[in-house]
C-alpha cells in the first residue's frame, strides 16, 4: 500500500544545471534511505542528522547507479512542510529528474497532488495565516489546471480505452453484488472460473496501458512541433525520416482529420510531439481549406515550427504568408530539395526573415543535412530555447500510478480467486481498480455501482 508521503520535482522542468526532487512525509527518510548510497557504497541516509547535506548516488531497484547527487535532510518540524523532508539535488535535465522521481515513487511515495506541498505547509503552521487566501487560490487553480490539462492532454483513444475498462470492471462488480444482494435470483455458481478469464484479459489490457504510459504515449507529451510548408515540399518525408531513422517512433495516432498526422518521436532522448500539416496555400477548394485552417491552428499552438521550403521553386506569396503567421514562434527553416537545382538561397531568405533564425539546407530524398537539423534541435533544447509543458509529464506520472494501482488490484482479485476466498472479497479489489482508473478521467465512483446493479440485473421481490 502507498504511504502518505509525497514527492514532486521542485525545480522547473527545463534543462537547468541542477534539479531538485522533494519528498515530504512520515516515510520521506526511509524512502530516501532505500535509494541512496554514499561514496563507499553504503546505505546510511537514516544515520544523518537534520539539516545536513551529503554526497552520494541514487540507485534504482536493480542497484544500478542512476545519478550522482547531493541530498539534504530536514527533519520535522524544521522544514517547509513541517514534515520530514528530503531534497535530492540531481543533475538538471528533464530525463534525470523524471527518472529519479519515478524511483522515489517506486520506493513508496506518491506523486503530490497539485498544491499539496503548500497545503501541508499551511496546515502544519509553516505559512502565515494571513496568507490562507493565497494558499486556497493556489490549491484550487492548480487543481483546475491539472484536471483540465489531464483530460485535454489524454489522447482521444485512451480516454475511450479507460472508459471501456471501467465499464467492464463495473459490470463484474455489479454482477457479484446483485448476486450477494439477491442470492435467490442470481447464482454465482462457476463464477470464479469465468472471472478468472475476465481478470486475465483485464490484466493484459491494463498492462498495455501501463506500457503506453511508460513511453509517454498516453499523454500528448513532448515538445509540440509542427511541420508547415506549401504542398509537396517534403514534409511527410521529413517526418518519415525522423520516425524511421531514430527507430524511436512511439506510435502513430490517427489525426482527427485525414490531413493532420500526429507522431510521437524521441529524438536523442528529447520527446517530440510532431504534427504534420496539410500544405498551406491560398485555396478555394473547400476540403483543402479545412485542412489549411487546421494547419494554421496547429501552428498557433506549437512550441516549435519547422518551416520547409522547396529550394528548387522560387518563393511566392504563400511563403511570405506562412512566415508571417509564424513570426512569433521558435522556428527552423529547412531549405529542402537541395539536391535539385537550387533557386532559393540562404542569403535570399535571410533578408526576408528576422536575425538569428536557423536555416538549414536539407535533402530529405538523399537524407542530407538531417544530422545538422537534429543537432540544431538538441542545441535549442539544451539552451532552453524550446521547452515543453511539465504539467503534462506530471499528469502522466499520476496516471501511471493510477494504472499501476488498478493493475495491482486486479492481481489481488486473481490471488483471492486462487486462495479460494468467497466471492464477496473479489468486489473489494475490483472496486479499488474501478476507482483508481476513474481518477484518470476525472470520474468518481458515486452511485455508479447501485445504478449499474439496477440497470443490468433484474432483482427484487
Amino acid at each position: 500500500m502507498k504511504t502518505d508521503t509525497i514527492a514532486a520535482i521542485a525545480t522547473a522542468m527545463t534543462d537547468s544545471g541542477i534539479g531538485i526532487i522533494r519528498i515530504s512525509g512520515e516515510e520521506a527518510i526511509s524512502i530516501a534511505h532505500s535509494i541512496f548510497i554514499n561514496k563507499n557504497n553504503k546505505k546510511c541516509l537514516n544515520t544523518y542528522d537534520s539539516h545536513t547535506i551529503h554526497y552520494g548516488f541514487i540507485i534504482d531497484k536493480d542497484l544500478r547507479i542512476v545519478d550522482e547527487v547531493m541530498i539534504s535532510i530536514m527533519k520535522k518540524p524544521h522544514s517547509y512542510t513541517a514534515e520530514d523532508t528530503v531534497e535530492i539535488n540531481c543533475h538538471g535535465g528533464v530525463f534525470m529528474m523524471r527518472k529519479i522521481l519515478e524511483i522515489v515513487i517506486e520506493a513508496g511515495a506518491r506523486t503530490a497532488m497539485p498544491g499539496e506541498f503548500t497545503k501541508r505547509a499551511f496546515l502544519n503552521g509553516r505559512i502565515d495565516l494571513s496568507r490562507a487566501e493565497a494558499v486556497m487560490d493556489i490549491i484550487q487553480s492548480k487543481n483546475e489546471f491539472a484536471l483540465k490539462s489531464s483530460i485535454k492532454q489524454l489522447n482521444g483513444s485512451l480516454y475511450e480505452t479507460i472508459k471501456k475498462l471501467r465499464e467492464d470492471i463495473l459490470y463484474e462488480i455489479a454482477f457479484i453484488e446483485s448476486a450477494l444482494d439477491d442470492p435467490e435470483h442470481i447464482s454465482l455458481e462457476d463464477y470464479p472460473q469465468q472471472l478468472t478469464v475476465k481478470i486475465t484479459d483485464l490484466g493484459h489490457r491494463l498492462k498495455k496501458l501501463l506500457d503506453s504510459a511508460n513511453d509517454g504515449r498516453m499523454m500528448k507529451e513532448g515538445i509540440h512541433t509542427v511541420i508547415v510548408g506549401k504542398p509537396n515540399v517534403g514534409k511527410s518525408s521529413l517526418l518519415n525520416i525522423l520516425v524511421g531513422e531514430e527507430k524511436a517512433i512511439v506510435t502513430d495516432i490517427a489525426g482527427t482529420t485525414r490531413d493532420i498526422i500526429e507522431e510521437y518521436v524521441s529524438v536523442q532522448g528529447i520527446p517530440f510531439h510532431i504534427t504534420d500539416t496539410a500544405g498551406i496555400r491560398n485555396t478555394e477548394d473547400v476540403v483543402e481549406k479545412i485542412g489549411v485552417e487546421k494547419a494554421k491552428k496547429a501552428l498557433f499552438e506549437a512550441d516549435l515550427v519547422i518551416y520547409m521550403i522547396d529550394a528548387s521553386v522560387p518563393l511566392d506569396q504563400n511563403d511570405s504568408d506562412i512566415m508571417k503567421m509564424a513570426e512569433d514562434k521558435k522556428m527552423i527553416i529547412l531549405l529542402n530539395k537541395s539536391d535539385l537545382s537550387v533557386c532559393v538561397t540562404e542569403e535570399q531568405l535571410k533578408s526576408n526573415v528576422s536575425d538569428g533564425l536557423k536555416i538549414i539546407k536539407t535533402s530529405t530524398k538523399e537524407k542530407e543535412g538531417i544530422d545538422v537539423f537534429i543537432e540544431t534541435i538538441k542545441d535549442m533544447f539544451f539552451h532552453n530555447e524550446i521547452s515543453y509543458n511539465d504539467e503534462v509529464y506530471i499528469t502522466n506520472l499520476r496516471h501511471k500510478e493510477a494504472i499501476e494501482d488498478a493493475y495491482e488490484s486486479i492481481g489481488q482479485v486473481a490471488k483471492s480467486i486462487n486462495d479460494q476466498m468467497p466471492e464477496d472479497f473479489y468486489s473489494i479489489d475490483l472496486m479499488n481498480a474501478y476507482a483508481s482508473l476513474g481518477t484518470i478521467i476525472g470520474e468518481e465512483v458515486g452511485e455508479d455501482l447501485v445504478n449499474e446493479i439496477f440497470s443490468k440485473f433484474c432483482m427484487g421481490k
Binding site: 500500500m1 497532488m113 497539485p114 498544491g115 499539496e116 497545503k119 499551511f122 496546515l123 495565516l129 490562507a132 487566501e133 494558499v135 486556497m136 487560490d137 490549491i139 484550487q140 487543481n143 483546475e144 462488480i173 453484488e177 450477494l180 444482494d181 439477491d182 442470492p183 435467490e184 435470483h185 454465482l188 486462495d419 479460494q420 476466498m421 468467497p422 466471492e423 464477496d424 472479497f425 468486489s427 473489494i428 468518481e444 458515486g446 452511485e447 455501482l449 447501485v450 446493479i453 439496477f454 433484474c458 432483482m459 427484487g460 421481490k461
Partner: protein
C-alpha cells in the same frame, strides 16, 4: 369548546416499525412518552412482505438488537421459518431472514408497548406541530387535544396524504385501506419543511386453498435456526417451520402485461411519485428486462392462522381484471382467488438532507424523524432510524450527547449518512454494497461493535455489557493462543494434513497459519490442538473469522483510520461558505444547502471535489487560529 391539555416529554407520531422503536427507546430511558397511531390495530403492521431481515437488512436487525432495540426479539418470538442467506459466501454477507406470522408479530409488539413503563398508546391523528422560535413545544390532535412536549419523533411511514392505485381505481387511503393522515403535511410545510412524493407497491394476497402447490418447488427453512437477537437462546427457536414455494412467470404472463400497459397508472402517467428500482413491479420487470422469458415468484405464508399467501415478485398497479388474468397464467395459480389486490401507494415524505445525522431537523430543535417518512423503504430501515431518532430525542432532553454512528461502525451509520448526505431519487433500501467497510460490519459481530454504545446510552443492561466484555476477552486470548501454538513437521501432523487434502509442512507453523488454509478450519484442527479449552460457539466463530480474513480486515481497518480523520474534522455550524472565495460555485451552493457537520461528510456530497475539501481544510485552519 374546552381544550384538553396533556404534558409529556416525547410524542412519537406513528406506530409502525420506526415509531415502536422510537417510543420504546424514549420510555426505556425514563421519559414520559406517548405514541400516536391512526389505528391501534395497526401497531407494527407489516403491510408488504411477510418477512424480517434478508441481505443487509438482517445486519440492521442485529444492530438494532445490539443497541437495545426490540425488532430482533420480536421476530424471534413470532417467526415461522428462518434462513441464513449467502451461507456459501464470506461471513460479511451472511444475512438472516425470517418469515413472520404477521398478526403475531404485530400482536407481540403491541404487548411490549402496552407493558412498557412511561409509555402511553393513543389512537388519534396528529394534525399539527406546535413550535416557538424554531423549537418544538407540542402537538395537536384532530380532536383538539394539545400534548405539550419537549421533543417529537415523526414516524408517519406511508400515511401522509396517501393514495392507493389499482389500475383506474384510486382510493385515498393508507396501506391496507387504513385511514390516511391528511392534515399533518400542511403543518410541516408551514414549519419550512420541504416535502416530496414517493411511491411503492405490493403484490396480491391469495387464498391458500386456491393454489396448487404441487406445481411449485418447496422452499424449506434452515435445519439449524440462528436467532436474530443476541439475548435469545438458540435452543428456544428450534421450531417446526412452514415452507415457502417457488414458481415462475412465463411469456403468456408477459403478453397480458404488455397488452395492458396503457391501463397501468405508472405507464399511463397517473402516478407522479418515484418508485424504488429494487422492488420493481412486474410491469417494470417485463418492460425493462424484455429479454427475460421468466421471472421468479415466491409464494409465502402470511401467518399460521390465516390462509392468505403473499405473491412475492409480482407487485403491480394494474387493474383488478388484468391482475387476475396475469396471476392465473403462473403454474400453480391457474385457479387462484385473490383476497387482496396488488396496489401501488403514493405518500408524502421528506428529502432527509434537512436532517442532521442525529435525525433531528436542522432548522427545528426537538423535531426528529425516522422511517419511510425520511425517504427510506423497508421495515428494518425504518426500525433502525426509529431507534436512533428516539434515542437521540431522549438523550437530547436528558442533556446527554446524541448518538451518531459513522459508516465504519454500523450499517445503521451507512443508512443514515446516505439519507442525510446524498441525493436520493427513490425510496432508499439498504444493500451490502453500500457499506464500504463491510468486512468489519458483519452481522455476527454487531454485539461486539455496538453493545457498548447501547450500554452508555442506557438501553443495554449491565449484565449484557459485562457479557460482551467477557466475550471480547475470550476471543483475544484464543487468537493469541493459536498464533503462538507451534506445530512441528512431525509424522502425526503430516498425516493429519494429508488426510484433509492439505499440503505438507516444510517447517513448523502455528495453528493460526493452518486455519488460514481454505481446506482447514478451527473445528478440524482439534485433532492436533491438545491445548484447546472448550469455548462458546459465538467465540469460536469470531476467532475463526479474525484469523482467516486477517489480511483483508487489516486493510479495511487502515482505510477506516483514514476515514475517521476526516470525520473528526468538524465544521462549525455558523460557517459562512460565501466567505471562502476559492470554493467553486457548485461546491459552495451544495455546502450552503446541506451544511455538513464534518469535513468527511462534506467530501461525500456530490459536486464537492477533493480540491474543494483541501480549500475547506485550509479555511478551517485559519479560522481556528482567529
Amino acid at each position: 369548546m374546552l381544550q384538553m391539555n396533556e404534558k409529556v416529554d416525547v410524542c412519537v407520531i406513528g406506530a409502525g416499525h420506526a415509531g415502536c422503536e422510537a417510543a420504546l427507546a424514549c420510555a426505556r430511558l425514563g421519559l414520559e412518552t406517548v405514541i400516536f397511531t391512526v389505528s391501534i390495530d395497526s401497531i407494527a403492521m407489516m403491510p408488504c412482505n411477510p418477512n424480517i431481515g434478508g441481505t443487509s437488512k438482517g445486519h440492521l436487525v442485529r444492530e438494532i438488537d445490539a443497541l437495545g432495540g426490540e425488532m430482533g426479539k420480536n421476530i424471534d418470538k413470532t417467526f415461522i421459518q428462518s434462513k441464513m442467506l449467502n451461507k456459501s459466501k464470506g461471513p460479511a454477507v451472511h444475512s438472516l431472514r425470517a418469515q413472520a406470522d404477521k398478526a403475531e408479530y404485530s400482536r407481540a409488539m403491541r404487548k411490549v408497548l402496552e407493558n412498557q413503563d412511561h409509555l402511553t398508546i393513543k389512537q388519534a391523528e396528529v394534525c399539527e406541530l406546535l413550535s416557538e422560535d424554531h423549537k418544538i413545544t407540542g402537538v395537536k390532535t384532530f380532536t383538539g387535544t394539545v400534548y405539550e412536549c419537549k421533543a417529537v419523533v415523526l414516524c408517519t411511514g406511508t400515511y401522509l396524504n396517501a393514495r392507493c392505485l389499482c389500475g383506474e381505481a384510486i382510493t385515498y387511503t393508507g396501506p391496507n385501506g387504513l385511514q390516511p393522515a391528511d392534515h399533518l403535511t400542511d403543518s410541516l410545510k408551514s414549519l419550512g419543511i420541504e416535502m416530496r412524493r414517493f411511491k411503492t407497491g405490493t403484490p396480491a394476497r391469495m387464498d391458500k386453498r386456491s393454489i396448487d402447490f404441487t406445481k411449485m418447488e418447496e422452499q424449506f427453512g434452515d435445519e439449524e435456526i440462528i436467532p436474530f437477537s443476541f439475548s435469545t437462546r438458540k435452543e428456544d427457536v428450534q421450531i417446526d417451520q412452514v415452507s415457502c414455494f417457488l414458481t415462475y412467470t412465463n411469456e403468456k404472463t408477459h403478453d397480458i402485461i404488455r397488452n395492458n400497459l396503457d391501463r397501468s397508472p405508472i405507464y399511463a402517467g397517473i402516478i407522479e411519485g418515484t418508485g424504488p428500482r429494487y422492488c420493481p413491479s412486474i410491469e417494470d420487470k417485463v418492460v425493462k428486462f424484455a429479454d427475460k422469458d421468466r421471472h421468479q415468484v415466491f409464494i409465502e405464508p402470511e401467518g399460521l392462522h390465516t390462509n392468505e399467501m403473499y405473491v412475492g415478485g409480482m407487485s403491480s398497479s394494474l387493474p383488478e381484471d388484468v391482475q387476475l388474468a396475469m396471476y392465473r397464467t403462473v403454474p400453480g395459480l391457474e385457479q387462484c382467488k385473490i383476497v387482496r389486490n396488488a396496489y401501488a401507494i403514493e405518500y408524502d415524505c421528506i428529502d432527509a438532507r434537512q436532517l442532521y445525522a442525529t435525525l433531528e431537523f436542522k432548522n427545528i430543535k426537538g423535531l426528529f424523524s425516522g422511517g419511510q417518512f425520511n425517504g427510506s423503504s423497508g421495515y428494518e430501515e425504518a426500525a433502525a432510524q426509529g431507534l436512533i431518532a428516539g434515542m437521540n430525542a431522549a438523550l437530547t432532553i436528558l442533556g446527554k450527547e446524541p448518538i451518531v454512528l459513522d459508516r465504519s461502525q454500523a450499517y445503521i451509520g451507512v443508512l443514515i449518512d446516505d439519507l442525510v448526505t446524498k441525493e436520493n431519487f427513490e425510496p432508499y433500501r439498504m444493500m451490502t454494497s453500500r457499506a464500504e467497510y463491510r468486512l468489519l460490519l458483519r452481522q455476527d459481530n454487531a454485539d461486539l461493535r455496538l453493545r457498548k454504545i447501547g450500554y452508555e446510552a442506557g438501553l443495554v443492561s449491565e449484565k449484557q455489557y459485562q457479557d460482551i466484555l467477557e466475550k471480547q476477552e475470550f476471543i483475544k486470548k484464543e487468537v493469541n493462543r493459536l498464533k503462538n501454538t507451534v506445530i512441528g513437521a512431525s509424522r502425526e501432523h503430516q498425516n493429519f494434513l494429508e488426510a484433509h487434502g492439505s499440503s505438507q509442512l516444510k517447517t513448523a507453523a502455528n495453528l493460526a497459519e493452518l486455519i488460514c488454509r481454505p481446506e482447514l478450519s478451527y473445528e478440524l484442527l482439534a485433532d492436533i490442538d491438545p491445548g484447546r479449552q472448550p469455548l462458546p460457539e459465538d467465540v469460536i466463530e469470531q476467532v475463526e473469522i479474525e484469523i482467516k480474513y486477517e489480511g483483508y480486515i487489516e486493510r479495511q481497518q487502515k482505510q477506516v483510520a483514514q476515514f475517521k480523520k476526516m470525520e473528526k474534522r468538524l465544521i462549525p455550524s455558523d460557517l459562512d461558505y460565501e466567505e471562502i472565495s476559492s470554493l467553486r460555485l457548485e461546491a459552495k451552493q451544495k455546502l450552503i444547502a446541506y451544511r455538513p457537520v464534518s469535513v468527511g461528510q462534506a467530501s461525500r456530497i456530490s459536486g464537492v471535489s477533493p480540491a474543494d475539501i483541501s480549500v475547506l481544510l485550509v479555511y478551517l485552519e485559519q479560522r481556528k487560529a482567529k
